[in-house]
């Protein structure tokens, strides 16, 4: 089996790059977190390929430790997200931009969000004449 190391390293780098793009550009906290996990996967590919390349298990052991760390990370991060969501009713990471560095201007969204397509209220064609209430009929309860 003539496996070459470079292919796996290149694929790992590409997966890491895609994850980095997602982490930098997306604003949903959960998507950002999934992109961080994507970067971890790229690193794991590297580790496993190097383990195969060197013919020992050290790289695989490293990935075995990535797994519990990722699980811890997911547990704590999701608890945090729940707490944040309870406060602002949103998962937008820009809602907490008052935690940003000193001297950095606040980012504002200029473009308005598109209005969701609402179904118009049903309109009934009137049939017949509108009844006029009789004088003696004061109240009908």
């Amino acid at each position: 089996m003539t496996l070459s190391l470079w292919h796996f390293l290149a694929v790992g780098a590409a997966v890491f790059g895609i994850g980095l793009v997602g982490f930098l550009t997306r604003r949903n906290l959960i998507t950002m977190f999934l992109c961080a996990e994507l970067m971890l996967q790229g690193v794991a590919i590297n580790f496993v390929a190097f383990a195969r390349y060197h013919g020992n298990l050290q790289g695989q052991v490293f990935v075995m430790f990535i797994l519990p760390v990722a699980a811890c990370e997911a547990g704590v991060a999701l608890a945090l997200f729940l707490n944040l969501y309870r406060r602002r009713r949103s998962l937008d990471s820009s809602d907490w931009q008052d935690l940003r560095e000193l001297g950095v201007p606040a980012a504002t969204d200029t473009e308005p969000l598109p209005k969701p397509a609402m179904e118009p209220d049903p309109v009934l064609t009137p049939a017949g004449a509108r009844p006029t209430p009789a004088a003696e009929e004061v109240a009908r309860v």
């Binding site: 089996m1 003539t2 496996l3 070459s4 190391l5 470079w6 292919h7 796996f8 390293l9 290149a10 694929v11 780098a13 590409a14 997966v15 790059g17 895609i18 994850g19 980095l20 793009v21 997602g22 930098l24 550009t25 997306r26 604003r27 949903n28 959960i30 996990e37 994507l38 996967q41 390929a49 383990a51 195969r52 013919g55 052991v61 990935v63 075995m64 430790f65 519990p68 760390v69 990722a70 811890c72 990370e73 997911a74 547990g75 999701l78 608890a79 945090l80 997200f81 729940l82 707490n83 969501y85 949103s90 998962l91 937008d92 820009s94 969204d109 473009e111 969000l113 598109p114 969701p116």
Partner: protein
């Protein structure tokens, strides 16, 4: 046409830059924004980036594996990982993104299997696809929003973010390319494939298999020639043919007969210290697989012809062709068995467990403690303070 004559490095750099630029353009068009996105253009740009990246891999690093099935699996799994990664990044709906991430995990696990890590494959599927993603989906269900929202329909600086990510990946790829070139320069062999970077530790490598396969076809051809040989001169040619076939094997399995000291590539690769006298050789890989491969190589050696044997059988007045053919058949069987000596990592789980609990015991304990602390922390963070409303 020397107008576009570029050096190899420039060409590789250009390929990487083109792939990165197409990737940036694709994500710029595909990332969600309030004014709407241009999906077909983005998909086309990303596909172009994938094609350029694939051709870069193929042209610079060669076909990943000589085996067709493995090559197909490699391309399939890596394409799957990249494709679903892009879906995760570009999809507006985070629940769909989580599902795409599950597919990324499955593709990565395929790559793990190709790297002989079945235990990690199982663990990753169970923990990631089984536990982490399901937890994510629960949280997503709690916080589902209807209609367009800030978090799902806006992106933060898609151009700069894409540029940062792809510049990083491109630089890593370029560094990889240059390292592979340096590794090539160290190598004096012909440049037909980059042998120095293959994963070592296989019992049989591609060269061995190639030599064994060549020997097998030669052996078949010699046996066919033996059927047609009528005169002594013809038989002398057949003898040469058999010996030529056998010389393919002897490079691999070694030759102990007739005082020729040729250890064979399998022995040279697998033995750390060669056996002197009765002391058993020290192996690089003292596992069952390599022992079995060495035993099979010994059987091929034992089944082989010697020159005098062939000559006495074929050059005398009554040539004994059937005996030679039977022996050739036996040799063929042994060689085919050696060729099929697989590299399945059957002992991977056991070896990993041994390594974890002997060399990395402290780290295992720390990981366990970390999990416990994380559970306590998650409960502490997620509980509502004060009275429930």
């Amino acid at each position: 046409m020397t107008l576009y004559a570029l050096t190899q490095t420039q060409e590789a750099g250009g390929q990487i830059a083109l792939a990165a630029a197409l990737g940036v353009a694709g994500f710029f068009l595909l990332l969600p924004r309030p004014s709407g996105r241009f999906v077909p253009g983005g998909i086309a740009a990303l596909l172009g980036a994938a094609v350029v990246f694939g051709s870069f891999l193929y042209r610079r690093f060669g076909d990943p594996m000589p085996n067709v099935i493995e090559s197909v699996l490699f391309w399939m799994f890596s394409a799957g990982a990249l494709l679903f990664g892009c879906v995760l990044v570009a999809n507006k709906n985070p629940a769909r993104g989580a599902i795409a991430f599950a597919f990324v995990i499955l593709s990565t696990c395929g790559l793990f299997l190709l790297c002989a890590a079945p235990m990690l494959m199982a663990a990753t599927i169970i923990i990631y696809a089984g536990a982490i993603i399901v937890t994510f989906l629960f949280v997503l269900m709690l916080s589902q929003t209807d209609g367009p929202s800030d978090e799902n329909d806006r992106s933060r600086d898609p151009l700069y973010g894409g540029f940062a990510g792809f510049a990083f990946a491109g630089l890593v790829l370029f560094a990889l390319y240059q390292t592979s070139q340096a590794a090539d320069a160290n190598q004096t062999r012909a440049n037909e494939n980059r042998l120095d970077t293959r994963f070592p530790a296989p019992v049989l490598n591609g060269d061995d298999r190639k030599a064994l396969a060549a020997g097998l076809t030669e052996l078949d051809a010699a046996a066919a020639q033996l059927d047609e040989a009528k005169t002594n001169a013809d038989r002398a040619k057949v003898v040469l043919r058999f010996l030529a076939a056998q010389s393919h094997f002897t490079t691999v399995v070694g030759q102990s007969k007739e005082g020729k000291d040729n250890a064979g590539t399998i022995r040279v690769r697998l033995e750390k210290a060669p056996a002197n006298g009765p002391a058993p050789a020290v192996l690089f890989r003292p596992d069952q697989q390599s022992k079995e491969a060495l035993a099979r190589a010994a059987r091929v050696r034992a089944a082989g012809f010697t020159e005098s044997e062939l000559e006495t059988a074929l050059q005398k007045d009554k040539p004994d062709a059937s005996a030679v053919k039977a022996k050739a058949q036996k040799l063929r069987d042994e060689v085919a068995l050696l060729y099929g000596t697989g590299d399945l990592p059957a002992a991977n789980v056991r070896a990993l467990g041994l390594s974890l609990y002997s060399e990395h015991l402290l780290a295992v304990e720390l990981a366990g403690t970390l999990l416990l602390v994380a559970v306590v922390g998650a409960v502490a963070v997620a509980q509502r303070k004060g009275v429930a409303k």
